[in-house]
Symmetry: C2
Subunit: 116 residues, 2 copies
Amino acid sequence: MLNNQIKIRISNGPATAMGPGKAELLALINECGSISAAAKQMKMSYRRAWQLVDEVNKCFDQPLVASSVGGSHGGGAKLTEFGIKVLENYHALIAKSQEASVQELAFIRAHLKESV
Amino acid sequence: MLNNQIKIRISNGPATAMGPGKAELLALINECGSISAAAKQMKMSYRRAWQLVDEVNKCFDQPLVASSVGGSHGGGAKLTEFGIKVLENYHALIAKSQEASVQELAFIRAHLKESV
DNA sequence: CATCGCTATATCCATTGAAACATAGCGAGC
DNA sequence: GCTCGCTATGTTTCAATGGATATAGCGATG
């Protein structure tokens, strides 16, 4: 059992406001202090990471990621208070959802192939 | 508020065992009695619909869709008992998840743009 | 005031995914 | 035994996506 988790995404029209990938990226940005370092860890191009951040920032009524340019270390990025809160909410949402549907999940998982 | 629902998918390795699209397709197959009619309703090519069915059938230890070929009406497809059960489980899973996380969901939704 | 590393963005190209199209085959019923 | 509509696939085309690459600009710090 490695990759059959339940994946929840919250879409906003055609875009995805929050999903597994964006959540991971945001968490890493918070850890690393920069988009580029986070991207590197996810083996993702900086371009793509930046696009995701941009998209997520545009999905909400306020930015989740605050980035600064220039400075001794070239700049960086971190989550805003709001970003942290959204991320926490998302994690909680997943946890609660999984908790609430253990039965259904168990039934389905029990019948999956390759779910060794 | 038209398209910002929470979307849950259950992945099985690289493939998706069950998700919004597949669930809708399965439901339609059950209604229509054929893959092609269901595909038409979803404005999806028959080929794609068939591929999804094939994938979903392969994800589980038993088929969700039973198809028959030939006959006066050319054949058809319907859900197996198992398929019905999986679908019901999936729907229940979503319902329970949404129920369990109303708070988190409300917070996030409240801050989405275009969430008119 | 030069450096350094990161943001921000544009351009080009490879890969992928899906759509479109094409066909073979099946069998209940007329 | 012919027809008809659906399953089951192969092939070819095309568009969208993402990766690679290039470059400009920024500003704290030494």
